[in-house]
């Protein structure tokens, strides 16, 4: 089958050769890319496996448990009951009281932490003398173990003993004052963290812009509100997002201060009582999943509605 090339065929062949080279180039390129991809996947595989083992598996197992009647005291009575546990939890006033208390603590503490954190950030950013000392001392509360700090708050507010307790009152035995003390402990503890995140944002504001605004006659408040705040908005949103998610899962402060007495339980406290104290894996897992979903919704709202971006994400990632 010898072929005598006709001009047309030669032309076509020439074309084909042309096509062939680009194809080969493309092929080489994709091969290289594929190899690189493969290498990349191989390199991340250990991390992915570890993540699957320590994160995905427990999450899926918790979801599975939440669909079962499972009590460690009656291991033989386990059975699949669809969404009964969720119905039990969501129709319980105990859950909704805890949910309300948690939301209250989250919103109030995040608000005060933002305002005070911003003030502290500005102080730390603007300090000229003893900058290291100011920053170190401001960060001290954050360095103290929460449980230790919570114990000292508890003793300070104990009736007849505490140095902060007014004579003849027992603030940790009433709902209102207990919640106020829990929020206070939270704020005291995490303002430095907030300030740290915000200070990183402040460092990005160009001095020139502030000077130019000052030249145009903008007051200090206007410079802050119209120049600084818009520029550090990403930092503010990230800080708020982190704090909201953290505050929603509050446990240690409440556990030490009131152990949930007088209806001060947070959702995490209620989950603990049912899961660890009550050994009711079904109900407890349903609660864990509900907390997981709620934090997911909070993160979603922050990212989609307010345009918070994960630290390190490029501008395209923001919307």
């Amino acid at each position: 089958m010898t072929a005598t090339p006709t001009p047309a065929v030669a032309e076509a062949a020439e074309e084909r050769i042309d096509d062939g080279t680009t194809e080969i180039a493309r092929q080489r390129y994709t091969e290289a890319k594929r190899a690189e991809r493969k290498l990349g996947l191989t390199l991340v595989a250990p991390a992915v496996i570890v993540m699957l083992a320590v994160t995905a598996y427990p999450i899926l197992y918790a979801i599975w448990l939440s669909l079962n009647q499972a009590d460690l005291r009656k291991p033989d009575a386990n059975k699949f009951i669809w969404f009964d546990n969720y119905i039990t939890v969501l129709s319980s006033p105990i859950w909704w009281t805890a949910f309300g208390v948690t939301m209250l603590i989250t919103v109030v503490s995040a608000f005060f932490e933002l305002v005070l954190g911003m003030l502290l950030a500005i102080v730390m950013h603007r300090t000229l003398v003893g900058r290291g000392l100011v920053r170190t001392s401001a960060l001290l509360p954050y360095a103290i173990v929460t449980v230790v700090a919570a114990f000292s708050w508890r003793f300070a507010w104990t009736a007849d003993l505490g140095y902060l307790t007014p004579e003849g009152s027992a603030p940790l035995t009433k709902f209102g004052s207990s919640v106020a003390i829990i929020i206070l402990a939270e704020i005291w503890k995490t303002v430095p963290f907030m300030a740290l995140l915000l200070m990183a944002g402040l460092a990005l504001v160009p001095e020139d812009l502030l000077k130019a605004a000052s030249m145009d006659g903008a007051s200090a408040w206007k410079r802050f509100w119209l120049v600084t705040v818009p520029l550090i908005k990403p930092a503010i949103l990230v800080a708020l997002l982190f704090r909201t998610l953290d505050a929603f899962r509050i446990f240690d402060n409440i556990f030490v201060l009131t152990s949930g007495a007088n209806k001060t339980s947070s959702v995490s406290m209620v989950t603990y009582s049912n899961l660890i104290r009550g050994l009711n894996l079904g109900i407890g897992s349903a609660m864990s999943v509900l907390i997981f979903i709620t934090t997911g919704i909070i993160a979603f709202l922050f990212i989609k509605l307010f345009g918070a971006a994960a630290p390190g994400a490029d501008a395209e990632g923001r919307r």
């Binding site: 009656k74 105990i94 027992a170 035995t173 949930g260 007088n262 209620v270 660890i276 050994l279 109900i283």
Partner: protein, 410 residues
């Protein structure tokens, strides 16, 4: 300490000679930190003659924390716990879960010999014995002799006496525990049994909240609103109730037997004015109050059940029960101790205690007691806001939900 056993037998697992004494170790959890308990431990270790060593391990100081640790480790089949010092209210839960061993045959005979029946009842679930009663407890009526010449027999009498004292401007308060915690459940149970009622049926399959419960709640509400209780009644636990008596505000105090020895050191001037009487009733009959105390149970996962049983029997024998009563104020479950002269000297109310314990009743026996207790204390707190009928209805439906495994804990 060197573990010769595992040096000689190389195949022996290292766990067999973990830190601490060599040989067989009986790990005791619960009640190991009482005053003078080291003496008792040393005595029993001597008696064991080297066959085993009892090691007392510490638990959290509050009952909830203790139970948390027990259930977490037992649910995980932890073999590191042998002897469990259990609150009398945990028997049904632990037995139903299969965490503690049933005592049968000779062990059962030994564990119940000379032991008062009501404490045995607290260690029994569905007609099987699961514990060795160690201590028991029962509340008494404490009163000021100078204010109250004849102690009241019924709640009605007590309330009217207190009101009379109040109108004369004398100390008049009735002290009782009514904060939102276990001690309040004890008092509610006292009243429910006084009217002849119960909260759950025998095998804990259904709530038994009825008109007797309603009457009991009426009485608690009346007591709280009659103006003769402390202003901080809804926060009162044992220490507060004791403090009210010590400071001279109370004329009557419903509290455990520790009051006498505590008053000897807290306010010696008052000891001579301090009277004790049987707990008040509703009809002047025999008081049937709520039992406290502690039982020893053997963990299902213990590797040395025989030694553990022997250890428990030693820790609560007559000599050691007396020593615990004198040093730590533990009221013995052994009937014979009440006759000992040393005991009667330290406890002038010994006869009253013995009658009290003999007529006492356990708290609701149920595998979900923890839930029931929480339901009772939260539903009925504060006592002045009780609405007898409505609160009883709520109790009934919540207890039913807890039994069905549908209730959630706050």
């Amino acid at each position: 300490m060197i573990c010769l056993g595992s040096l000689m037998a190389l195949m022996a697992p290292m766990a067999a000679c973990s830190s601490g004494p060599g040989g067989t170790v009986v790990n005791l959890y619960g009640g190991a930190s009482g005053e003078g308990f080291d003496k008792i431990l040393a005595d029993c270790n001597r008696a064991a003659g080297g066959r085993y060593t009892i090691v007392g391990n510490l638990l959290p100081s509050d009952a909830d924390g203790q139970r948390d640790q027990f259930v977490r480790r037992l649910a995980a089949h932890d073999s590191g716990m042998d002897l469990l010092g259990m609150d009398v209210t945990w028997t049904a839960e632990f037995a139903e879960a299969g965490w503690i061993r049933e005592l049968t045959g000779d062990q059962k005979t030994q564990a119940t010999k000379d032991t008062l029946q009501p404490p045995i009842d607290t260690a029994t679930w569905k007609d099987k014995l699961y514990g060795i009663p160690r201590t028991t407890n029962v509340q008494l009526l404490w009163y000021r002799k100078s204010l109250v010449p004849n102690p009241p027999k019924t709640f009605d009498e007590m309330i009217s006496m207190a009101q009379q004292l109040k109108s004369q401007g004398k100390p008049s308060e009735i002290g009782l525990t009514a904060a939102q915690y276990e001690g309040y459940v004890v008092n509610i149970n006292n009243l429910v049994t006084a009217y002849g009622g119960t909260l759950v049926n025998e095998n804990s399959t259904a709530p038994t909240v009825d008109d007797k419960t309603v009457q009991a709640l009426q009485m608690m509400q009346r007591l709280a609103t009659s103006g003769v209780t402390s202003k901080s009644l809804s926060n009162a636990q044992e220490p507060e109730v004791f403090a009210d008596l010590q400071a001279g505000r109370s004329a009557f105090s419903l509290n455990w037997p520790y009051v006498l020895s505590a008053m000897r050191s807290a306010n010696p001037d008052m000891v001579n004015d301090l009277g004790f009487a049987p707990f008040p009733t509703v009809d002047g009959g025999t008081p049937r109050t709520t039992l406290g105390g502690m039982n020893y149970a053997i963990s299902k996962y213990s590797k040395h059940p025989a030694e553990t049983f022997e250890a428990a029997m030693c820790l609560r024998n007559e000599k050691n029960a007396l020593s615990a009563a004198l040093d730590a104020g533990d009221i013995p479950a052994l009937a014979t101790v009440y006759q000992l002269p040393e005991f009667q000297k330290a406890y002038p109310m010994a006869d009253l205690l013995l009658t009290g314990v003999k007529n006492a009743v356990p708290r609701p026996q149920s595998p979900v007691y923890q839930n029931i207790s929480t339901i009772v204390s939260t539903t009925l707190s504060p006592p002045s806001k009780i609405n007898p009928k409505r609160s009883a209805d709520k109790l009934r439906s919540s207890i039913q939900a807890a039994i069905d495994g549908k209730g959630i804990l706050p």
